[in-house]
């Protein structure tokens, strides 16, 4: 294996890992700030200018807190829960294309850790095992509220995965590829999937909210009913891991929404600017992060606007609301793409 290849992948891995951690850190601050602004408050502003050191203070506080473990907890699984959640949250960033490619010294370096030909399915697999951390942690706490949270998380995840996969399948049908890199590359310029798949987009966004356990779907941690849900018994950095992985999940979900529906690193008129290849890539990455920030903001905006679902409403919405829409969208898309393939619309262009 080429040594430069190894070093470049290593650098990319480290950069993406650190980036997701730092972004998750500052997402906590952004969440509190934005919540403040939505409620005519200021949000945290004491630690550093504009509260910029607040995440550091929060992290330090969590590290200093007492490590508590319930007496009858399953020791190994109790520790495994948050670790698994964190691991799974970080896993899916591997296949997201963070930008085009940089050409340095005649060699092309793609800004994607692993361009596997089943990238979409990989992300989907990672999402589907994401619930294990919550379930294990909730069960191992030996607390009925935690168990209730875990059970809720499991049923919610399974229910919304279906509609989510259906909307992804529609994307796969139109693009004809399971590789995320290919899907993003096909949305070159302004050919974003959101224009051809508006229903799929809405379904995907709603499911993304449910999969990340964010309001209005935060029933697994629902404070008013379940105290803290699956992390009721957790303290110190184990709790920190749970809270932190929620923000990483949010970041990754935003990146997925941006990549699948909003063209990823593509931006309008990218061919007409007359810039060099590397310059386009750098601007593209910046554009991608702007899109991610927008969707992150959307996540928070929704959270501080909508009240929480009731549990039966959640289930009814998932199975009787989203799933039929997703399936209908899939059938319509299949029908139309079949017509296009058979030149049915040729009379329009005549």
């Amino acid at each position: 294996m080429d040594m430069t290849f190894v070093i470049y992948k290593l650098i990319l891995c480290v950069v993406i890992l650190l980036l997701s951690l730092v972004i998750a850190m500052y997402a906590t601050l952004a969440e509190r700030k934005i919540a403040g602004f939505f409620q005519d408050r200021l949000g945290p502003n004491r630690a550093g200018t504009f509260g910029l050191l607040q995440p550091v203070a929060d992290g330090l506080k969590l590290f200093m807190k007492e490590e508590f473990m319930p007496a009858n907890a399953d020791k190994i699984l109790y520790i495994m829960g948050p670790s698994l959640t964190m691991l799974v949250a970080l896993l899916s960033s591997a296949v997201i294309p963070w930008g085009g490619s940089l050409i340095i010294a005649g060699k092309e370096f793609a800004l994607q850790v692993a361009d596997i030909n089943i990238g979409v399915l990989y992300v989907f697999a990672v999402i589907s095992i994401g619930v294990y951390g919550i379930m294990i942690g909730g069960w191992a706490s030996n607390n009925k509220y935690a168990l209730m949270g875990a059970v809720r998380a499991a049923s919610q995840m399974i229910s919304y995965e279906l509609a989510m996969s259906m909307s992804i399948v529609t994307i796969v049908m139109t693009t004809g590829s399971l590789s995320l890199n290919e899907i993003v590359a096909q949305q070159h310029g302004m050919n974003w999937n959101v224009f051809t798949q508006p229903i799929g987009f809405v379904v995907f966004v709603i499911c993304a909210f449910a999969e990340t356990n964010r309001a209005p779907f935060d029933l697994p941690e629902c404070e008013t009913e379940l105290i803290g849900g699956y992390h009721t018994e957790y303290s110190s950095m184990k709790l920190g891991f749970y809270l932190f992985s929620e923000y990483i999940n949010m970041f990754i979900s935003s990146a997925m929404i941006a990549s699948l529906y909003f063209g990823g690193y593509n931006f309008p008129f990218m061919d007409d600017l007359g810039l060099s290849h590397n310059m386009i890539t750098i601007i593209g990455t910046v554009v991608l992060f702007a899109k991610i920030s927008f969707f992150g903001f959307l996540f928070m905006w929704i959270r501080w606007t909508l009240p929480r679902f009731r549990y039966d409403q959640l289930m009814r919405f998932g199975w009787k609301g989203l799933l039929p829409w997703a399936i209908a969208n899939m059938i319509i898309t299949g029908f139309i793409s079949l017509l296009i393939k058979n030149n049915f619309f040729a009379f329009l262009t005549k």
Binding site: N117, I118, F124, A125, Y132, M135, L147, V151, S155
Partner: protein
């Protein structure tokens, strides 16, 4: 040879965790060990260059079925005291049944020609495109039949889940 070491490592973990499924005292641990076994099997698929199968295996088995298992076991809150005692005749029948399946497995493995597998890195059959083409051309009928089977299972589940009108 890296893939060989990986194969031995995965096989070891698979066998140990499969044994632990049977030996664990808590049902939850059994379920989690079973999940681990599925992950190692997915690793084997990747070693055979069948990425699609590996990922689908994780999505379907680890991501959906085992979550449901875990869900059920958590809700039922099974433990050793609650386990009902099986009669001797039941145990006897179970032992005979299990032994016969074991015999069939050994018989199948004995008649199986290992050399036909070929070099996994050269076969591209595990990739999505080839797999899809094979499924929808050579194996179209079994594929459709199994989908009908799934549909009937789904309809049956819905029927069972429906509230009794009376």
């Amino acid at each position: 040879m890296l893939s060989q070491y990986l194969f031995f490592f995965l096989s070891f973990v698979a066998i140990v965790s499969a044994l632990m499924v049977l030996l664990s005292k808590k049902p939850i641990h059994s379920v989690l060990y079973l999940t681990l076994t599925f992950f190692t099997l997915a690793g084997h698929y990747i070693l055979l260059n069948a990425q699609f199968l590996a990922v689908v295996h994780i999505i379907v088995y680890a991501g959906a079925i085992m979550v449901l298992f875990l869900f059920t076991v958590m809700l039922l809150n099974l433990n050793i005291e609650g386990e009902f005692q099986k009669s001797t005749i039941m145990k006897f029948i179970a032992a005979i049944g299990g032994g016969m399946i074991f015999l069939v497995l050994i018989g199948t493995l004995k008649s199986f020609d290992v050399a036909t597998v070929g070099n996994p890195e050269l076969t591209q059959i595990g990739l999505v495109k080839n797999l899809g083409k094979t499924l929808y051309s050579d194996y179209l009928l079994p594929f459709e039949l199994s989908s009908i089977l799934f549909l009937s299972a789904m309809v049956g589940a819905v029927m069972l889940g429906k509230k009794d009108k009376q």
